[in-house]
């Protein structure tokens, strides 16, 4: 092999990659083994070229062996994920930027004037603990019936709620810009119809009444002896609605039971009785019943009866 006609390989040491673009198979290789052999020899040359540069790097000796520093790879390969996007500033950050407010690091230990000691800022036995205030002095603006301690707790709850809302808003804007922090996930708890705001479901009067009725009757005595609230209506009659006609006819009045039976008979025996009876429906019902009875005796699915086994009363006719 002439050294002058040495092929130039494209070597990317960072990836341990080598590419020989000038190789051409001289002729159709005669057999598979020859082809394989030639490929392996070409490969060896390439690996040797990479190793030449690699072993000439300055190496540091470690317990496992010589360590070299690889240069960054030169072949560009596509990324697997997008580049991290810059986070949009939060509402507070924008405000602080505008006003020129600098961040100040807070100390963990703060001097407490009431006890003349250094106490921690957060945690057990902290400075300015809300629970520790023994007396709150009344101001001229206070109402007489108001509990100032409860009011303080309430105020704190409101502040915390507001802060949570703001935090959610900030995260939403960050998610819109595609820069949600990796450990946070925004989950929809209820899915609204796209384009509309989900309206809270309004319950109708009837439905409310039903529910109230259910609640009222769910006591031990069925709600009979409970005090009724002002405006509450008596419960609707539950269960089956029976109308029983009187056995003995009213004094000089009509025998209602007789009337009822006469009515039915009249309809059946009249000239136009066939119009009353829905013949089609009757036929369908009869046919269905017949088919059900038939299919019930599906021979394939039922276990075959053993004829050889004799049963007592075998001679009795089946239904």
């Amino acid at each position: 092999m002439d050294m002058e006609t040495d092929q130039i390989y494209q070597v990317d040491v960072g990836n341990l990659l080598a590419f020989n673009s000038n190789h051409r198979f001289p002729a159709a290789p005669s057999s598979r083994e020859e082809l394989v052999k030639e490929c392996v020899t070409e490969g060896t040359k390439l690996v040797q070229a990479i190793a030449d540069t690699l072993f000439n790097f300055p190496s540091t000796e470690t317990s496992d062996g010589p360590l070299v520093q690889l240069p960054p790879p030169t072949t560009k390969l596509p990324r697997e994920k997008h580049l991290p996007r810059p986070k949009p500033p939060t509402k507070w950050e924008e405000f602080a930027l505008k006003k020129g407010i600098q961040k100040r690091k807070k100390d963990k230990i703060v001097y407490d004037e009431t006890t003349d000691k250094f106490k921690r800022r957060h945690g057990y036995d902290r400075v300015n603990d809300d629970n520790d205030i023994p007396i709150i002095e009344a101001k001229a603006s206070d109402e007489p019936g108001e509990d100032p301690f409860a009011k303080r707790l309430d105020d704190k709850k409101k502040r915390v709620g507001k802060q949570e809302k703001n935090r959610l808003q900030n995260l939403k804007t960050a998610a819109k810009a595609g820069a949600l922090p990796s450990h946070v996930q925004l989950a929809a708890t209820a899915l609204p119809i796209s384009g509309t705001k989900a309206q809270p479901q309004k319950i109708g009067k009837e439905a409310l009444g039903d529910v109230a009725g259910l609640a009222a009757t769910s006591t031990a005595s069925g709600g009979k002896f409970d005090k009724k609230l002002p405006g509450e209506k008596p419960p609707k009659k539950q269960g089956k609605h029976h109308k029983y006609l009187p056995v003995v006819p009213r004094h000089g009045g009509v025998d209602e039971e007789k009337e009822q039976t006469n009515k039915v008979l009249g309809k059946l025996l009249s000239k136009h009785s066939h119009e009353i009876l829905n013949v089609g429906k009757a036929i369908n019902m009869y046919n269905d019943k017949k088919e059900k009875k038939k299919s019930g005796r599906s021979d394939k699915l039922k276990a075959k009866k053993d004829i050889t086994k004799k049963k007592p009363y075998a001679n009795k006719a089946d239904k």
């Binding site: 960072g14 496992d64 690889l70 072949t75 990324r79 997008h82 996930q185 989950a187």
Partner: protein, 315 residues
């Protein structure tokens, strides 16, 4: 109504941070799965590929009937798997009458299909059929050499894409420091025709030569196969540009406070920061740590020891 969900354990948080998009990315993981029908060749190819890429690959064993990489709707399952396993390269093997012994190599960008290339496998030789001295067998997870031979890889666009995909597939992690004793495998890809590539996996034997650079000898150990190009799909230009975009390289970190002096040698400057009384960490007042308690315990042990000795002596 939106709700903020944060991980409740440190482990979960670390996993989420590992999977987040970063400036310098982790090595790409490979997802190996097969389709409705696979022949013996395809299943052994997938199995051996998995073994070669043990540390950074996930192999699914069930068949996936609804994955059709080249059809528009057939990628949703793949993208879902990619999202769940955090894999950006996939190898999908199948076998049909029209496309026997088929392998689809694909890559993902942001868990959506970036590009695909379909190859057919011919003349497959499994790694079990190669006999060699077991001492030179390559170790699992070692960084391989990758070699491409043939002008086809420059001229034919499909082969160019195949070259890129194979580099991505075999590369593994990008490392800064490399241990030279751990170099024991090489992948050789030769373009034997504009549509066929011969791929084989060899172990490296380092032989003594006169110089620092040892003489390399390759021994075929692993699977070898012929890849016949069938279909491919290139990424669209905009997506490709976005995926190839990389931020400016980080400027090399200056080593501060170090001086070189001819007389004294290497000099360093040590700064003692101002002592901030407000920020001193409080003492560890936990029960077992207090000195009185420690000393008390020591005393007690000593007494017990001497008491037992006394007992022994008296006996």
């Amino acid at each position: 109504m939106m709700e903020i969900r944060t991980p409740k354990t440190h482990k979960a948080k670390r996993v989420l941070e590992k999977r987040a998009p970063k400036l310098v990315e982790n090595g790409k993981k490979t997802l190996i799965l097969h389709g409705t029908k696979t022949s013996a060749t395809v299943s052994s190819v997938l199995m051996e590929l998995y073994r070669l890429k043990k540390g950074g690959a996930i192999k699914y064993s069930r068949r996936n009937e609804n994955i059709r990489p080249f059809e528009s709707g057939g990628e949703t399952s793949l993208e879902f798997f990619s999202l769940k396993t955090d894999c950006s390269i996939f190898v999908y093997g199948s076998h049909t009458k029209k496309r026997p012994d088929n392998l689809v190599l694909g890559r993902m960008y942001d868990h959506h299909v970036y590009d695909l290339i379909e190859v057919g496998i011919e003349n497959f030789k499994s790694l079990l059929s190669f006999s060699y001295d077991k001492k030179i067998a390559p170790h699992e997870g070692s960084k391989p050499f990758i070699c491409f031979t043939g002008e086809g890889f420059d001229n034919v666009p499909e082969l160019k894409q195949l070259k890129e995909v194979l580099t991505d597939l075999f590369r593994g992690e990008v490392v800064e420091n490399l241990n030279l004793t751990g170099l024991d495998r090489a992948y050789i890809c030769t373009a034997i025709s504009p549509t066929k590539v011969f791929l084989t996996h060899c172990a490296i034997k380092l032989k003594k030569s006169g110089t620092i650079v040892p003489r390399i000898e390759l021994v075929e150990v692993g699977p070898s196969m012929d890849l016949v190009i069938r279909r491919n799909r290139l990424p669209n230009e905009g997506l490709r540009k976005e995926a190839m975009r990389s931020s400016k390289d980080k400027p090399k970190k200056k080593v501060k406070n170090v001086d070189q002096n001819d007389v004294l040698g290497k000099l360093g400057r040590v700064y003692i920061p101002e002592q901030e009384v407000g920020k001193i960490p409080l003492a560890d007042k936990s029960k077992g740590v207090k000195r009185e308690r420690r000393e008390g315990k020591l005393k007690k042990n000593k007494e017990e020891g001497s008491a037992s000795k006394k007992l022994k002596e008296s006996e």
